[in-house]
Symmetry: C2
DNA sequence: ATAGATGCAAAGAGTTTGCATAGGT
DNA sequence: ACCTATGCAAACTCTTTGCATCTAT
């Protein structure tokens, strides 16, 4: 069975407490404040097992390396602000996308990313 | 100015004639049928310049390496088959996603990816 | 003739894996 | 005691870059 180690607990804690998806590097640095000698391989191994058990979700933005966030939250999407480059959760969903796939195709799930200006950047014409 | 070479022409031709986004490897293999000695570095260099001049679009799917497709296809989305791992264009669109973003947010564009089984994989219970 | 383009190989960046050891159960 | 998890380093994959050569203009 899966053991509870200081490393694993630290990694989970960093991801769970984050307000946004984190890169492996950010996760490493965050967890290293609790477990000094933590290595990147351990981060990746834990990310992998967390992903396989669906406790983690990958967030892939164009041109950027993958980021990871806790699955605990309900189904949601992302809003990528083209002004400040932050990524926000969007908890609404267009739903019912089964009918837009070509006939014969079976839709299992979907990912939606919105691009635009967040509330702050919308209110600030020129940063 | 930009020169017209056999390599560049072959690379463009492969991408333009594809009905789906292609990986650098697929582009290399396709273009090599026309230009035997073509190297991967040349593919990447051309992808880069095509991207910079907006003649190409990156398609970045979670957990996948980037794929490339020619710009100028009308607005569409992607369907990622979890069976054969190919990516298909989806020309329908749920449209009108402005209202699902938080208030104060301005939506400029959106990306939608469907996951499931393509027609071939849907018809083949066990590969 | 000249400057951009190519091919090769080496270099980078990110991620994975083999192996000996530490540590949870 | 057993056996998973870790740390380190090497291996791997994907992408970029340096350099000599080629070639379109």
């Amino acid at each position: 069975m899966e053991r509870s180690t200081r490393q694993r607990d630290a990694i989970k804690a960093v991801i769970d407490s984050a307000q946004r998806p984190l890169s492996p590097q950010e996760i490493l640095e965050g967890a290293q404040t609790q477990v000094a000698g933590l290595g990147m391989a351990t981060v990746y191994r834990n990310l992998k097992s967390l992903l396989e058990s669906n406790r983690l979700t990958v967030v892939t933005l164009p041109g950027e390396n993958p980021r990871y966030e806790s699955t605990g939250h309900s189904h949601h999407h992302h809003f990528h602000c083209t002004g400040c480059d932050k990524v926000f959760d969007v908890h609404h969903c267009p739903g019912d996308l089964l009918d837009i796939a070509p006939s014969g195709f079976t839709v299992e799930r979907h990912e939606l990313t919105l691009y635009g200006k967040c509330d702050v950047c919308s209110a600030t014409p020129n940063p």
